[in-house]
Amino acid sequence: MSNYRHKNRENVVLLSARNISKSFPGGVVALDRVSLDLYAGEILALVGENGSGKSTLVKILCGVYVPDSGEIYVREHEGLRRVTISSPVDAMIKGIVMVSQIPQLVDNLTIIENISLTLASLRIRGANFYSSLSKISKIMSEEFEKIGIKIDLNEKVYNLTYTQKQLVEILRAMIINARIILIDEALTYLPILEKKRFYQLLLNLRETGKSIVLVTHKIPEAMEISDRIAVLKTGRLVSVVNTREVTPEYIRTAMFGEERAKQVRYSRLESKSVYGEERIVVKELRVEDDYGREVVKGVDLVVRAGEIVGIAGITGNGQRELAEAIVGLRKVKSGEIYINSNSVNVKNAGIKDIRELGVGFIPDRLFEHGISLEEDIVENIAVSVARRDMIIPWSLIEKISSDLVSTFQVVTPSIKTPTKYLSGGNVLKVIVARELEAAKKALIACNPTRTLDEVSAMYVREKIKNKAVSENIAVLLISEDLDEILMISDTIYVMNTGKLYGPLTPETPREEIEKLMVM
C-alpha cells in the first residue's frame, strides 16, 4: 500500500466536519461534537463499535440525517466553503455519495432505471428526467465499458446477487464522478476474495484524487487498505492515526476503552463433547423467495440436541428463506423438514405447531417478524408465552417479563413502555430474551447480534452457547459474520446460491471457508 502523502499532491482537505452533534428521540446521543477532516486522495477508515455513531456521521455527510449542531465544509475552487447538506441529492451535487450495507436500489426496476434517476437528477452527460431510457442506456454502457465491467444493464435489480448490487452502487458513484465515497459497512461481511475486487477499484479511485471513507467495526478490515484510521467511541472521536503507525491492539483499546477491551474476548467458547438425538432434520429442501424464484436448492441438514450448527455466507444466498422455511413461516416447495425426531413434518404442520413444540426463532427481519413496536414488552412476551390461554394471565406474564428484562439488562423505563421507545439494541435484546425463553427444543437464530455493541453481543453469544450446552437444545445459527460463526459453532456450513457446503469443523482454516462463500 503506497504512502498516502503523494509527492505531487498537497494535503488538500476535501471535506471538514466540525463539532457535529446529533441525538435521537429517547435521549440517545449519537454524536457529540465530532470534528474530522478528510484529505484528497486518501482512504480513511472510520471505526467504532455498533452504536458508536459512525453510521450516523456518514449519514449526515450524505444528507440522510441533519445534524443538530455543527458545520460541514466542502472544497470548492477557491477553498473550503461552508455547506448544508439537506438531502441525498444535495450531497451528490457536492460530490458525496454513500454505498450502504443494504443496497439502495429499487428492486422492481432495472439497473438502468435505477441509475438513470441519479444521472437525471445530477444532469450528467445531458441526461434529464424527460430523456428516454434508451438514451440513458447508451450513456451508461459507454461509461461501464470505460471502467471495464460487464453487467447486463437491463436486468431487474432483484435478480442480482448482493455483490453485484454493491458493484452497481460503486459504479454509480464512479459514473457521477463523486469526489467522496462513503462506504457504510457495505464490504464488511464479504469474504476476502470478493473484497479484493472492490479494493482494487477503491485504490484506483484514490490514485485519481478521490477520497474514500470506509466505515467498519472490524479492525482487520480497517487496517487493510486505509491510510488513516479515525476511532469513534460512544459518539466521540477519540483517536485519529496513520494506519502504518499503529497496531490492532491500539485500535481495539481506542474503540472499547481499557476496561471494556478486557471484557471483549474473541476466543472460542467451550462445546459439548457428545450430542444428543437429531432435533432438526432437513432433506432435499427447496424454497422459493418472494419473487417466486428458487433460492434454496436442495438442502440437507441435521442439527442434534446440544449442537450449534452455524451457516456462514454472504447475505442473499437463501439463508433467510431457509430459516423461515424451517420454522414454518415460509412455504416449502419440496423436501422435508422434521423437528424433534420425526414427530413433526413441518411441511404438513404449520408454524403454530412448531412454536408450540418449543422452537425459538430470532428472525432476520427484526421489525417485520420479531416485535410489535406499538405494544409494550409485556404484551409482546404474552404472545409468545400465553399460547394456550383464552384469557391472558397478566400477572404471570409480567413476572416473566421482569425477569427477562433484568437478566438481559434491557434498558427501559418500565416493562409497560411501548417498545418503540427503546433503542434498537434493547429491542433486539427483548427479542433474544423472549426467543431464548421459548426455545425448549431448538433455536433458529438469524444474525442475532447485528447492531449490538460488542459486550452485549458477547453476552448473547454466551447465552446461546449455554442454552445448547446445558439445556441440550439444538441451535441453528445463521450469520453473515464469519467471526461469530467461528466463535460458537460446533459444525459449520457455507450457503452459496441456495446450496449448502459442508459440514466443516471450526478448526477449518478461514480461507477455505471464505473460498466456499465466493465460488
Binding site: Y65, Y130, G292
Partner: protein
C-alpha cells in the same frame, strides 16, 4: 340482432369514460399514493361539469359561438379542477406523515356531498343536460376514441420508457430509496397527480357530456368509480392492459339497461350489476396468477416519512 349505430356510439363512450378514469387513477397510484377518493371525486366532477357547462354554453351562445365549444371548454376546465384535488392529495400525503386511506375516504365523502351541492342549481332548474352535451355524430365519437387511445399510448411510453416514468414508479415501489437515488419524491408525485387527475377529470366530464348525456344526484349511487378502481387494480395499472378491461366493463355497464329489459330484472337487481361485476373482477384478480403478474406498487398506501431509527 341488428347493431344500431347508437350501440357503437354508446359503447365507444362507455369505453372512453371508464378507460380515462382508470388510466388517470393508475398513473396517480403508480407514484405510491392510494386513491380511495375515486368514487367521490368522480361524482363531484360530474356535478362540477353540470354546473359549468350550462352557464358557459349560455354565455357562448349569446356571443354567437357554437355550444360545442363550451362543451369542450368544460371538459378541459373539469380536468384542471380535478388537478387541484390531485395536487392537494399528492402534497398532503407526501409532505406529511398522514394516513392515505383515511384522507382518501374523507375526500370520497366530501365528493359525494359537494357533488350534490354543485349540481343542485341545475337540477332545481329542471335543465335538460342533453342540450349541452356532444351531438350524436360518428366523427365526435371517433375523435374521442382516438384521443383516449393516444393518451393511453403516450402514458405508457412516459411511464415505461422515460426517466420521469422510472421516477414515478420508483416512488411507488420504494420512495425512501428513490430519494437516495436523487428523486424529488414530492415533485414527482405532484407531476403524477397532475397528469393522472387531469385525465380523470376529462374522463368524468365525458361521462356526462359524451356517454350518459344526463345528470342526477343518484349518480353517486352507481358505483362506477369503484369499478374503475378495480379495473385499474386488475390490470396492474398498466395503460395498455387497461384497454381490454375498460372495454369489457364499460360495455357491461352500458348494456346493463339492455340486460335489465331482456332478462326482466327488477330495477334494484339491475342496479347491483356493476357492483357484482366489480366484486367478480376482484375475485378473479385475487385468486389467480393475475395478482402475481399485475402486482400493485410495493409502497402503495404506505406513509412516507424520512424515518430516523437507531437501528
Amino acid at each position: 340482432m341488428e347493431i344500431e349505430p347508437v350501440f357503437i356510439f354508446r359503447l365507444i363512450a362507455a369505453f372512453t369514460t371508464m378507460y380515462l378514469i382508470a388510466l388517470g387513477h393508475s398513473v396517480f397510484e403508480k407514484s405510491g399514493i392510494l386513491n380511495l377518493s375515486i368514487d367521490g371525486v368522480f361524482f363531484l366532477l360530474t356535478g362540477v361539469v353540470v354546473s359549468i357547462v350550462v352557464p358557459l354554453a349560455d354565455i357562448f351562445s349569446s356571443l354567437g359561438l357554437p355550444v360545442i365549444l363550451a362543451t369542450t371548454l368544460t371538459v378541459i376546465t373539469t380536468g384542471l379542477i380535478a388537478v387541484i384535488i390531485g395536487v392537494f392529495m399528492a402534497w398532503t400525503l407526501t409532505k406529511l406523515p398522514v394516513g392515505q386511506g383515511s384522507v382518501g375516504l374523507a375526500l370520497m365523502f366530501l365528493g359525494y356531498g359537494l357533488g350534490i351541492i354543485a349540481g343542485y342549481e341545475i337540477r332545481l332548474g329542471g335543465v335538460r343536460i342533453g342540450l349541452y352535451t356532444y351531438p350524436e355524430s360518428l366523427n365526435i365519437y371517433v375523435v374521442f376514441l382516438i384521443i383516449a387511445l393516444s393518451t393511453g399510448i403516450i402514458t405508457h411510453i412516459l411511464l415505461n420508457k422515460t426517466v420521469i416514468g422510472a421516477a414515478i414508479r420508483a416512488c411507488g415501489e420504494n420512495p425512501h430509496v428513490a430519494l437516495v437515488l436523487g428523486v424529488n419524491v414530492l415533485k414527482t408525485r405532484i407531476i403524477a397527480s397532475i397528469i393522472g387527475f387531469f385525465i380523470m377529470g376529462v374522463g368524468a366530464s365525458l361521462f356526462v357530456l359524451l356517454w350518459q348525456k344526463y345528470w342526477d344526484i343518484k349518480i353517486y349511487l352507481l358505483g362506477y368509480g369503484w369499478l374503475a378502481f378495480t379495473i385499474a387494480l386488475a390490470a396492474g395499472r398498466h395503460p395498455l392492459v387497461l384497454i381490454p378491461l375498460a372495454l369489457l366493463f364499460g360495455g357491461l355497464v352500458e348494456f346493463n339497461i339492455r340486460l335489465k329489459t331482456t332478462l326482466g330484472l327488477q330495477v334494484d337487481l339491475a342496479k347491483m350489476i356493476p357492483f357484482l361485476a366489480t366484486l367478480a373482477l376482484m375475485t378473479i384478480y385475487g385468486s389467480t396468477r393475475l395478482r402475481k403478474i399485475f402486482e400493485p406498487p410495493r409502497s402503495l398506501g404506505k406513509v412516507f416519512y424520512r424515518e430516523e431509527r437507531t437501528v
